[in-house]
């Protein structure tokens, strides 16, 4: 098992290197004056700047390999370069944005994972009866809803009408606390930082802001996890160890919770891991509607502005998140599944 993990870790830099070349090669399609447009974010800005002068200043007309060499030197020495679409050093932008996306990713995945287990168990127990079909059909409809219509409706309903779950990442007061010096950002994930700084008001506020985006985020995955859990449960219920457990005198519920669920959950772990790339790319719509400053929004503004250093750095960061999460999921799977761990 260790050998496989080692091989995967070794392959990460190669993948990232190839990825950066792939994206950087897109520069070839663009004339320097198209690339300079990043500095001109609005129509009136055209008036106060001469683009040719800027092209020379930022060296956009140099040959491709020179630009790539400069960029690569920057990356290797830790300087990710400057993002003009975000107006700050990329490393600073990533440090702000990655924790936000990870936080949303975690809550979204938790809903998908535990929601899937809960509904999947009900669907399996009420096998082929009304609530089994009801759960399956409703979650399938969940996937088919266009994401941004659903998000907007959630926002209008739960924020404008009932003021229960506001968009954004933190309320005004909480943001002041977080950015004040007394608050130490350990991880950048507000939920954990708030607990570590034992500021429960900030924790509650962050949680309140996370509810809507994570629901919208998890809609897509719920149907698949419910289905997977249901079929996995049914398959395990027909296995021999269930009879042994019942003979031992365990009640039906105990058999299900203690014995069967642990086995049935295993395929769910790999599946939730596989959803990370899908979720990361889906975050753009959710982040825009819920004004959540995550990676999705950052990369889209960079992409639309053809801010190449930012696009590459961000895509590499997202790819690293994906690779690490896949690795973590595989490791988690082997830990939880003794057959593979000691196979």
């Amino acid at each position: 098992m260790k050998k496989v993990i080692l091989k995967r870790i070794v392959s990460i830099p190669i993948i990232l290197f190839v990825l950066s070349i792939m994206i950087f090669s897109l520069v070839l399609f663009l004339s320097p004056s198209e690339r300079v447009a990043v500095f001109v974010s609005s129509s009136d800005a055209m008036q106060n700047v001469s683009l040719d002068e800027l092209i020379k200043r930022y060296g956009l007309d140099q040959p491709f390999y020179v630009q790539y060499k400069n960029w690569l030197q920057g990356i290797l020495t830790g300087k990710l370069g400057w993002s003009n679409s975000a107006g700050m050093p990329i490393s600073e932008a990533l440090a702000l944005r990655i924790p936000a996306t990870i936080e949303l990713l975690l809550t979204g995945q938790l809903i998908v994972f535990f929601g899937g287990i809960f509904l999947g168990t009900i669907a399996a127990r009420e096998h082929n009866r009304f609530s089994d079909h009801f759960i399956r059909i409703s979650t399938t409809i969940g996937i088919s809803l266009p994401e941004f219509v659903v998000s907007l409706f959630l926002l209008i309903l739960f924020y404008v009408r009932f003021d229960l779950f506001p968009p954004g990442r933190l309320g005004l007061a909480a943001t002041d606390v977080v950015y004040s010096d007394s608050f130490f950002n350990y991880t950048g994930l507000h939920l954990f930082d708030a607990l570590l700084n034992n500021r429960f008001d900030v924790f509650a506020d962050a949680l309140r802001h996370l509810v809507l985006p994570s629901i919208a985020y998890s809609l897509g995955g719920l149907a698949a996890t419910v289905r997977l859990m249901r079929s996995s449960l049914l398959e395990n219920l027909s296995k021999g160890y269930v009879d042994t457990a019942r003979i031992k005198g365990l009640s039906d519920k105990a058999v299900l919770n203690k014995h069967v669920r642990r086995n049935a959950m295993l395929p769910l772990i790999t599946f939730t891991g596989m959803r990370v790339p899908v979720l990361l790319s889906g975050s753009v719509v959710v982040e825009t509607i819920f004004d959540y400053p995550g990676m999705g929004l950052f990369i889209v503004t960079a992409a639309q502005g053809l801010d190449f250093p930012a696009i590459i750095a961000a895509s590499l960061a997202v790819s690293i998140i994906i690779i690490i999460s896949n690795l973590a999921v595989d490791v988690l799977y082997t830990i939880l599944n003794p057959v593979i761990r000691l196979g």
Partner: protein, 290 residues
């Protein structure tokens, strides 16, 4: 084959799925009849009635009303079904072929080739799809064929991954070993024995993906890199209604027609293909996670 359809219809979800899919196929086929195009050179451009920024409810000229910018909703929905089907079918066709061949052959061959193949799949898997499409369409410019190209380039790895796990399973089965020591050439074994036995989950993935591609196209339009403005695409029509979803003060559902029809179209289309895929999966019985 009729037995095959009988099985699908027997499934509760399968029946609904089949009905929805057939409905949209008919609408797509009958598009020129249902909504005759204004200028026949480019039927995919939605019929325009005026340029007003305000959406107008149903009136005698446009059956379901017009979106902001004067695009006729009915025309957009009808021709949008054709766009959805074409994009879905082409994309799924190419992604499955590339995926099956690449994943299958490398897995069948095994050894270092399989490793390299997996690293390539890892590479493509680690690129978040929507962001990759945005960068591509921003650079290469807009248009449906560019979106399809991007969908193919960044979509085949899912099939490759699934095909690889299926081939690894089937490869070990006795009948393949038997065929091999009877002296059958590897390629013949691959196409005669391996593919027919591992193609089933791929078909399920294909049917679910046809539905899902419409959703991806919709979020592309939301981000502003979807098809040409005015092109008959459900995501596009939906995107026009973005500012009008919350209606006007006092009457939150004042512009309901701008988003209801397009949403229903998308939901039923995606639901149809997904339910069909699920029915196939229940028939097949295997536990496949898409």
């Amino acid at each position: 084959m009729p037995g095959f359809f009988k099985q699908i219809v027997k499934q509760p979800g399968g029946f609904i799925g089949l009905v929805l899919v057939l409905f949209w196929i008919c609408v797509a086929v009958l598009a020129p009849v249902l909504a005759p195009p204004q200028d026949s050179t480019d039927p995919y451009m939605i019929a325009r009635y005026g340029f007003s920024t305000l959406p107008k409810p149903a009136n005698e000229t446009s059956l379901l009303g017009t979106t902001s910018g004067g695009y006729d909703i009915f025309y957009g929905i009808v021709w949008g079904s054709r766009t959805a089907l074409i994009t879905g079918l082409i994309t799924v066709f190419f992604t499955s072929i590339i995926g099956v061949l690449f994943g299958g052959i490398c897995a069948y061959h095994g050894g270092s080739i399989d490793d390299i193949a997996m690293r390539v799949v890892d590479l493509f898997m680690s690129i978040p799809f929507l962001i990759a499409v945005i960068v591509m369409t921003t650079v290469l410019g807009k248009g449906l064929e560019k979106i399809i190209l991007a969908l193919i380039i960044f979509g085949w790895h899912r099939y490759a991954r699934m095909m690889r796990s299926e081939v690894l399973r089937v490869k070990k089965m006795e009948f393949v070993l038997a065929a091999r020591n009877m002296g059958a050439p590897p390629m013949r074994i691959f196409f005669q024995h391996i593919i027919p036995n591992s193609i089933y989950p791929i078909i399920i993935l294909m049917s679910i993906n046809i539905g899902r591609i419409v959703l991806i196209a919709a979020s592309l339009s939301f981000v502003g890199v979807g098809a040409e403005p005015g092109f008959a695409d459900w995501g596009q029509t939906l995107n026009f209604s973005r500012a009008w979803i919350s209606g006007i003060p006092g009457q939150p559902f004042y512009y309901w027609y701008t988003y209801t029809y397009a949403s229903i179209a998308i939901i039923t289309f995606v639901l149809g293909w997904t339910l069909l895929g699920d029915a196939l999966r229940d028939i097949y019985g295997g536990e496949i996670s898409t």
